[in-house]
């Protein structure tokens, strides 16, 4: 089967072989990049700088969390606030592939800037197998451009090192547990973050809606799992749909937004079945979203498997 300890030793050696000078590491605070950060930090010590970019598209409390996590793991890191730059670059863009490319390019622009300051020639990423598989190339069709693969510009100054390239999420979690990474069990979150959970144009207002809706989905499902009503799905979140519909608020007509709730069971992200969430839990989610977020008057539940659908909507 898979031996996480042997994998860690192999990769520490491989990184030492591949990086002679300094390296920066792209860290989102998720399982993959945090795990890559700990392995790379073991290999390189203070020749490594982990860089977290606050795109303004992240979950509630995420930036503070990443800081705590990396401090606890003693990985030297830097947090860069770039939210204005991202919203500016995404203005008027509705095509999901264009969003992913803009975000990927922006990441590299910022990482190159940080690398120059730190004196690094190498960029280490927590890319995992589904990222490059779904990004396509040669015979393989492109399902979606993962920002860290197909979102990269054709010409890059930095040399890429990707220690987790051949792993899937379940294997990364095993490595994370072996390394004592606090976020080992955290659900996956897309690199382009809320930009691909807001269908249509990405604005600070629309991102705020989906951020709130996602937080409600997380709170309710985690509470239900805690009470033993269900087991926690592999991934669970909300998307803001580009659809408006008629509703009634206090005897007055409204024409409001629609939120889609998605929860799915998977092992590796390459196939999956939608979660059979108890109706009472869905009911609470619906009531909370439509009451706590005034602009939303309708909630729908996604009952699609992968394939034919993918986990995220964009």
């Amino acid at each position: 089967m898979f031996d996480p300890k042997a994998f860690i030793d192999e990769q520490v050696e491989a990184i030492r072989g591949a990086v002679k000078g300094k390296a920066i590491l792209a860290c989102s605070g998720g399982v993959d990049s945090t795990t890559a950060a700990v392995i790379a930090s073991r290999a390189l010590g203070d020749r490594l700088l982990a860089v977290y970019i606050d795109t303004g598209l992240m979950r509630k409390g995420e930036t503070q969390d990443v800081d705590v996590t990396l401090k606890a793991l003693r990985v030297s890191h830097r947090i860069v606030d770039a939210s204005d730059e991202y919203f500016e670059a995404l203005k008027g863009v509705t095509d999901p592939e264009r969003k992913r490319h803009i975000i990927g390019n922006k990441f590299i622009e910022l990482f190159e800037r940080e690398a120059t300051t730190f004196g690094a020639e190498v960029l280490i990423q927590g890319t995992i197998a589904p990222d490059w598989i779904e990004s396509g190339g040669q015979l393989r069709d492109r399902i979606k451009s993962h920002h860290n693969v197909a979102g990269l510009p054709a010409e890059m100054k930095l040399r890429l090192v990707e220690p987790l390239r051949d792993l899937y999420k379940d294997e990364v979690r095993k490595v994370a547990r072996a390394l004592g990474v606090r976020v080992a069990e955290r659900q996956p979150f897309p690199g382009p973050a809320f930009a691909v959970r807001v269908l249509g144009e990405v604005t600070p207002e629309r991102v705020a809606v989906v951020r709130e809706a996602c937080a409600i989905v997380e709170e309710e499902l985690e509470a239900a799992a805690g009470k033993g009503l269900m087991t926690l799905p592999w991934q669970y979140f909300a998307v803001l749909l580009p659809v408006q519909s008629v509703g009634v608020h206090g005897d007055v007509r409204v024409y409001g937004h629609t939120v889609g709730v998605r929860a799915i069971e998977s092992v590796d992200g390459m196939s999956g079945t939608y979660s059979k969430i108890p109706h009472e839990v869905l009911d609470r989610i619906s009531v909370r979203i439509t009451n706590e977020i005034k602009s939303v008057n309708r909630v729908v539940y996604d009952v699609s498997n992968k394939p034919p659908a993918t986990i995220e909507w964009e």
Binding site: I133, Q138, L139, M270, P307
Partner: protein
């Protein structure tokens, strides 16, 4: 035990590699234009699925035909690999009347080594636009789903197997067992 995976551009090619690795097989993903000569010392070969529509762009299937003609080891064709195998030996593949994506129920009609120890009905994962429409001469159909009659086939006189569904996918029940049976067959024929 050395079994390689020929990459025809599938979403799950790397999963096939992972399942073989988990079974302790010495495995590697190779491009489908690798010369057959380089593969002749293997114990078995998997022809992956892929985006190419076998009937419409056979050129994209590289040297799969050479592998089927020149290698004598067991070969397992999956999805596009299975459809290509059917066409190569004189059968046919065509757009499916009802393409299948995701969950389907498989029924095994004819027991065979690949399905050793498995129930006759179980859940499999699908993702195909085309299907085998004519089983080639010398091959027998082994299993079906309600919307696709040739979900599995094998050659009567050579260890060539074709599967339309994806045993490498986590959501396919007994997928690992099907691979284990294939590996065992490769092992048996090596001796």
């Amino acid at each position: 035990m050395r079994i390689y995976v020929v990459d025809n551009g599938g979403q799950w090619t790397h999963r096939e590699w992972r399942v073989l690795k988990y079974l302790g097989v010495d495995t590697k993903i190779v491009q489908n234009d690798t010369p057959a000569e380089d593969l002749k010392d293997l114990d078995g070969l998997v022809l992956s699925g892929g985006a190419p529509r076998v009937g419409m762009d056979p050129g994209k299937m590289g040297r799969n035909g050479e592998y089927l003609d020149e290698l004598r080891q067991p070969i397992l064709g999956i999805c596009a690999g299975h459809q290509f195998m059917a066409m190569h030996f004189g059968g046919d593949a065509a757009p499916a009347k009802i393409p299948e994506f995701g969950k389907a129920t498989l029924t095994v009609h004819k027991p065979d080594v690949l399905f050793d120890g498995l129930p006759s009905t179980f859940v499999v994962w699908e993702s195909h636009n085309d299907e085998v429409s004519v089983v080639p001469k010398g091959f027998v159909g082994l299993a079906s789903t309600p919307d696709c009659s040739v979900q599995a086939m094998r050659s009567a006189d050579r260890p060539l197997f074709g599967l339309q569904f994806h045993p490498e996918v986590e959501d396919t029940q007994f997928g690992m067992d099907i691979f284990r049976n294939f590996v065992r067959e490769c092992e048996r024929l090596r001796r």
